[in-house]
Symmetry: C2
């Protein structure tokens, strides 16, 4: 079922109800909609959440670059929105997505690859795409 964006007034009313933190951000969990795999955790400000809901392409807020981070804009690894769900406190959002390629900047499908095991931190997956391929060498 293709994603249908809410109207601007509906989006504004939704975003009004979100509890952004002192930095104006909400935690966003991306999950592959069909497999259930948790891909990454990032942050959104009101503008990023509105753009995500409006376009159906997931957009975060980069705390390091201090600006909108349109996922896949550089790497091509876009996230198409399937559904977005606020939690009970409305200070976190779960975005169900269709992830093209890989979510992680290391070239792995998911960012959560460092398992805490009896023998120590174990990398349970390997990169599927080289970081140089994702971001170029420059």
């Amino acid at each position: 079922m293709p994603y249908t964006p809410p109207e601007p007034s509906t989006r504004a009313a939704m975003i009004e109800r979100v509890k952004f933190n002192a930095d104006g951000l909400i935690a966003a969990i991306a999950q592959q909609h069909d497999s259930g795999e948790v891909l990454m955790l990032a942050w959104m400000n009101a503008e990023a959440l509105d753009e995500t809901l409006r376009t159906g392409r997931v957009c975060y807020y980069s705390r390091s670059r201090k600006g909108l981070w349109r996922k896949g804009e550089t790497s091509g690894q876009v996230q198409t929105l399937v559904d977005a769900r606020l939690d009970c406190d409305r200070d976190a959002v779960l975005v169900l997505v269709d992830q093209k390629g890989v979510a992680c900047h290391t070239g792995r499908r998911s960012c959560f690859y460092n398992a805490l095991r009896p023998e120590g931190i174990v990398e349970i997956t390997q990169p599927e795409i080289a970081a140089e391929t994702l971001y170029g060498k420059g």
Copy 2:
């Protein structure tokens, strides 16, 4: 496969590598290990993460109560740890759990029940247990 805790020195070395934020916290996503359902987002400090890894029972840090929050201690809705995975930046942790009963304080299985739909915010699940049953009436 039952959870095997790492030795104290291994846990200390792991926690040394975690990037806690300015408040000494890391975001923790709880996911039901077999169904893939994302249950909740909460926070852990070093002590909560160490207790979680040591005991195999998930323990968070409550920002409102400013103390350890042993999930299910009051409600009985405990989370048994199956696996814990840090992300690429080591500033978020995914805990794969076996959730007894419900994760959400509203009595819902998952906290992420407020879907952002064209018609507005839609509650897509209903409580399975009354909040009064979970926490008493006092």
